[in-house]
Point group: C2
Chain length 190, copies 2
């Protein structure tokens, strides 16, 4: 039994519903095309609640596209396991669950959105990765890994491009790890 | 002096203007959000001309996002030069000139658009590349190269992500070629 009051539980559920509606709409049509009223209507709540919970569209978008929890897990991995963790995360990406990243890409016409996406990529992956790389040009190498992961994600989740979209995870991971090793010069886990 | 009649020359200029307007609009807001009327208005011509020249929105989009000329040049390269040609092409990409690819990505919510983009990637790069690869999983390796190029393009042109967006071309090419060699096992040109 939870000690949370029914009212507070409802508030949490409404918040979750609003975030899901926002992700779906931002994903479908991008940041600038979507209004708070539309998000509220999709979630079946009054627009005043959106303002009460999130304050502004900017703040709603920020929360809806936050991926920092995901990333904290990845960053804890040892060098030997990092490549495998990264590709496993991308291979598990699904359009519905991973809407945040694709909502951001879809909204890339907006400079503020782009700045946030870049900051997330840096904080979440490239700065940490660059610190581990002992080879020359560590920051470019880190962005090159991000490029590879982004490109795999775009082909699999956004485009459904075959063979990458239909191939066995193990086969993709094997080729990815060869590229990851060549780019980062980090030791392999196997 | 050209032997083309002024009238025909005007038609050519109008066509070009319409294609440029279409690229810009599709890039900014995606395929489904744009109507022929809007394209005509942006190009400063009557909408009946758009219909006369292109027939339908589908056909206009097809022409506006065709990249087959670019690609034919790349496909003629020897194995040793292919990696360098590919990265040079991506490093030369600019948001204005290379609107077609990004217009397609932006329009990736539309299944017909996605099918065309995938077909272009296959015909233009991955099928040709897979044929050259003697290592295991040639088709996945070819798509992995496409992933890397897409990811570099997205970060540089769409996101302006640093350091990749501001780094020296030579530095990026050097790291790319290491990854390209590891993925394709093709010989290097240097």
């Amino acid at each position: 039994m939870s000690s949370v009051s029914p009212r507070r539980r409802d508030a949490g559920a409404t918040r979750t519903r609003l975030l899901e509606a926002a992700r779906e709409l931002f994903l479908a049509r991008g940041y600038s095309a979507i209004g708070l009223r539309e998000v509220a209507a999709k979630a079946g709540v009054d627009v005043t609640l959106v303002r009460r919970y999130f304050g502004s569209k900017e703040r709603l978008f920020e929360e809806a596209t936050d991926v920092s929890e995901d990333v904290a897990q990845l960053l804890g991995a040892a060098d030997q396991a990092l490549g495998e963790r990264l590709i496993a995360r991308v291979l598990a990406a699904r359009r519905d669950v991973d809407a945040p990243l694709f909502a951001l890409l879809r909204s890339s016409g907006d400079p503020a959105v782009v700045a946030r996406l870049n900051a997330q990529l840096d904080a979440g992956l490239t700065r940490n990765l660059a610190r581990r790389i002992a080879a020359d040009r560590p920051r470019i190498r880190a962005d090159m890994v991000t490029a590879l992961l982004l490109g795999i994600g775009v082909q699999r989740v956004l485009l459904g491009k075959k063979p990458l979209a239909g191939a066995r995870d193990d086969d993709i991971a094997e080729v990815f790890l060869e590229a990851f090793e060549a780019i980062t010069k980090l030791p392999r886990g196997d």
